[in-house]
Symmetry: T
Subunit: 145 residues, 12 copies
């Protein structure tokens, strides 16, 4: 099973920004943990990060026939990028949306996700463990657990 | 690690209601799987279901010093029970809110959670696997993963 | 044909509260008339009243395979109980929502029904005759009138 | 007892439009059943249909001293015709608003009735039987049932 | 100076409807007083009443080159008839909107006028004297008072 | 008959501000015309202008038993001064609210009047002639016209 | 191919009203051009204009089995006539909604179309050429272009 | 004078939850102070607490003819329980709503009280002294102070 | 303990305005009772009333270091005077907001208080006894009751 | 006449995404048809597609003095890209906005266009024929049709 | 160049109120710095502060022909005083609105300015330096910088 | 002191677009003036402009440890780019948001800034002098003025 993990704007700055909300770990450290977890679950993971909505949509389109699933943390694009939503909706494999912080416990504008309605589901609030739990869900699906 | 799993109104009717949304498995079957998963993770789980907001609050209060965490699927109470929110907020252990269906992809009123802001996080849209993923998150916390 | 008639919070106080709106008849007197009407139409009626949302949901679930239809006056739960809505939605037999007063002619919050969208229809504004008319509709369905 | 039954815009097209919502019966067939029912209840019914708000108001004004009650299905005028509302409000006999479909279960704009607040009550969702139930309510009033 | 006075839906029922709000005088009696007042001011008045939006628009179009001004009480059309608004806007002579009751002191929906923005001004709340005051304003304009 | 005419904030600047909307006449010139008109109608008028909400309320309270009626142009206080509204509401004599411009044809915030609901009526849009028409209405009331 | 072209309220006044928005051409001149264009495309066009919502609905109902398509400019009815919407929805042939001006660039109330959701599509902003483009679309459909 | 003091959901947890908002005193300690205060004022107080909306309504109905007044802190039910509102409205003795914290200074959802409109008044923000002040008001009423 | 009691616009008119809502007692009579009550509680009270927002703010600023607390009934300023709110917020001693009528049971605009969020608490609905209860609360604070 | 045709995010995926809404034709196939149509009308067309808002704005700016008009399908950017709107507004040649599906008949967020107000007009709902009709309109303008 | 600097309600309390937001400097100290700065720029400044909306409007009117520009910090009047807006709008010299704190980063009600639309511009968030920057802008205008 | 000045979408088109709003000066001319001003203040400025949200975020991230402050005119991104907001929020040096036109005096959507709450302050409405004033503020901070 091959999963693409996409991170949106400013997530390359993790560990340098609002640590009380997003934690101290850098994106590289998170990715490292995901690689280990994936190996343990006999899955493959690839990573993509960009600050540009357009590049993320390009990447999603290229992923269309290559991966068995997507994990995406769209960053702030979550709250207004209908273009990203359309890109995700065009995929035939399942997508899981994740967030480091609990978006329900933050500013009003962060409580609305325009991308979530076209995803299989959402995991929000567990820091880097949100990604881990998403991997776990993919693993369960595949294992018929 | 000892986890209490609470299910709100109508979840005892799982498998009998809107199967295209909630799936075919009964609550008992889900609980059985959770028991097995918990055993595998060396955790203990207990279950409580009620159709009554008052009874659920009573149960949460009794749980205050007994469990290491709560998993709750508040059912439709998610969308209006500020009393349930207050009860969850008074706990010192973490609470994970779960939903079978992806609440972001359903009716408008189901997209608002009044309980989520006082939970650690939310897992929504993976059917009974939402509960499983929540267990996994508790396990990660405990294992310092 | 066997019909369950459910009355929600405060309807046991009929005849003692805001008579200019709800009329002078007690719930027992209304039920008596419904028994007579049902007999005339060769139907059976049973009654349940509770001030507790949870008990009403319990009762609806027990009714699932026993009755040919439900008449429900959810009282003020009409306006916010999504849990009651879910319970009604899970039934396979038709439900008719009734109100004594014309909810369209009252306070703003009473003009919204969260339960009506999952009912077959609504009869509102005819005092205890709203229940009678609901019985009549069930009778018509059965008689293919 | 003499009742005027008014049908608003597009109801003359019944049986030719969105049958899954409005049913297969034509307005003439419904009227025929109402005549029979009225005869059985010892009542008289007359019918009026128009696609024009102005003509309906004219007809209501002429009805002022002639009938003992009105049954009206205002069609889409239900949702915006304050002029119709004023006309209904000026009558001294009771008016019952009926709808074929359950307006609470349809588009948002159909869930608001500007005419209902000046009617005695509303019966919605029982197809042509909504009219029948309205006749029944008039009969009960007259019979002191 | 020649003024056309237009009355919209239900105003032909004045004196028969909600007298505590609209007064006891019939439209004919009001018109009679306006004829007298007009004569005193050396003006001519003509009258038109209809319950039909379409007929009123027809009449306004015919009035385009015939009168020096219009006084209109659009009745309930005030609150939603953008078609009437467009008709009034196409006139080159001034229009005064009048209301018997003070629309600011009534139901919410009556406090919004979609026609007023294209009129010269509005006189509301003085019963039949609202029309009289409108005549007076026309007279002042003509007399350069 | 003795009428007090109150003008609110910035109306002392008439003729110096936005002439395309408010006209070229100064407040003094308008008052002069009102004096003449009042004499013609055998009425007495007194004037008060202030830029201060508090002073206007003081003046209204002093007027309580002295005048037969009030004409008020509250200026921008129209749109938010609930304190002015309370002061006007406490009077037992009728109050007419006037505006130079047609408030329905201007910015959104000017289309809402918080004072109008406690006045007898409103005359808006006729420049200084709005005051004249208000005098005329008082005269009609007194003359039983 | 036979197309009915319907124009709603005030469109018979084209060329006489707000020329900067609606242009200088009269409806007759537009129709003349449409006749020529239709001839060129080997189509037939018929015209109907009315200021009355009811008459327009009557005409649409009569058109049900006669034409291959409808072009409608509902004028201001666009923004509130749910009755017109219902009439259009009951047709089995395609309907194209057109507007002379770009409704997105005008007052707020003109930016909402209650009829557009039941049409095949909308062409707005090209003056009388909006009708021409609609004819062209019908021609393409028929020609399988 | 005999007063029933009702506390809603989670108030049995006082002293254990969000002490910076609700204070450190337990409900028992508050009740103890109220008993003392009541004795000093020559009044009798009884207490009821429940986490269940239904049980609270039951208790209010039983109280109907037994007490001279009610003091109620509905907890979070304040913000959505129209059923509780109906129960309170049916009482003929006065009800005073109290809150420990100042609901105006908290989350948006806590600033709306659906029960307050049917109470005599509200005392909010003085911790356990809110109850004391309510007792004082009852005492003043009785003493004709 | 020294308390300043401030009354806003129109409260000097008590006993002369809407007696069914505000009672028959004049402000002087209320103040007299407060003096007596204060004496009984061994407190000092001073009074200030003004119809001017500016004068009230001036008075609050002068009070900053002189009194141990404030009781304020801002009258209609309650609903919009953010300037008054800022003045109250700058005080270091506690402020209690009081209202004669129950603001929750009145017009919509009276249910919003912009000053309450910066007060210690609010007492509303008990007529002149609201002031008395506020004194009582101050007394409790001081007495450590 | 030289026209630039711009397609926004995800339109390069046509034929692969939600075919029931967007049709089965690929963007290349649509462009091919437009080339043919343009040739027939003696016009030139060029194409640009990008998933990036920034690149589209760059392209629009370069187009400023090169083309006689623009046809743009902004994809989901239609609903939120005020930056795109500003770019379009800065052009001196006319822009026509087109959509494949009827945006009035889809999700709420798709019914709002932030770019349409600065375009000459909009053609929506005719699949790839929307582009064709836009070409036709440009041709009419040029031909003085 | 002669500039009038107006400060609204509560700004005379600077240094005594919410220092974390408004800073520790008193209004006198700020004014002193402005005098120095003005001298350096060869400008003259005069100051006016009042807690009264009416007095501020009076002062603005007197300033009409005396100063070359105005700097105003309307304090909380910013958010609701349409009367102040009208006064500012009547001036022919430019007005700059300043705020000590960044109004975009504060409570919702502080993010709306009813006065800003009639000012030349706004400078917000730089403490007393906001005034300084405003002086600088006036200087640039005058120097044609 | 080293300042980065960022301009968002379409600002490279200054002098070519809506000159009555944005002025006639090109971005290069503005930058030239800023270089001169900076030199006079002994500061260094660098410039960056892009039409792409993603590139602007990239640039901001690179700026994190290089500059002492940022001046940003986000163009239309101001109104919806939460991704830009997050990028700005992650900086530890102060950011000043500037606008050429007074955003409070323009379309509704331009009056909301999603980036301003994370900036130190905002300067809006002074054309290219807004940038100059921002430089001035940075200078004051550094000079402890």
């Amino acid at each position: 099973m091959k999963i693409l993990i996409i991170n949106g704007p400013n997530l390359n700055f993790l560990g340098r920004r609002k640590e009380e909300i997003y934690g101290q770990m850098s994106l590289e450290e998170i990715n490292q943990r995901l690689v280990e977890k994936a190996k343990a679950l006999d899955m493959q993971v690839e990573f993509f990060q960009s600050n540009s909505e357009g590049e993320i949509i390009d990447r999603i389109q290229q992923a269309a026939d290559v991966y068995d699933g997507l994990i995406i943390n769209p960053g702030a694009l979550t709250h207004y990028s209908y273009a990203l939503r359309d890109a995700l909706e065009s995929l035939s494999v399942p997508v899981i949306e994740v967030h480091l912080s609990n978006i329900f416990a933050r500013e009003d504008f962060r409580q609305k996700s325009v991308t979530a309605p076209v995803c299989a589901g959402v995991i929000t609030g567990f820091g880097w463990r949100s990604y881990l739990a998403a991997l776990e869900v993919f693993h369960q699906w595949v294992s018929q657990l």
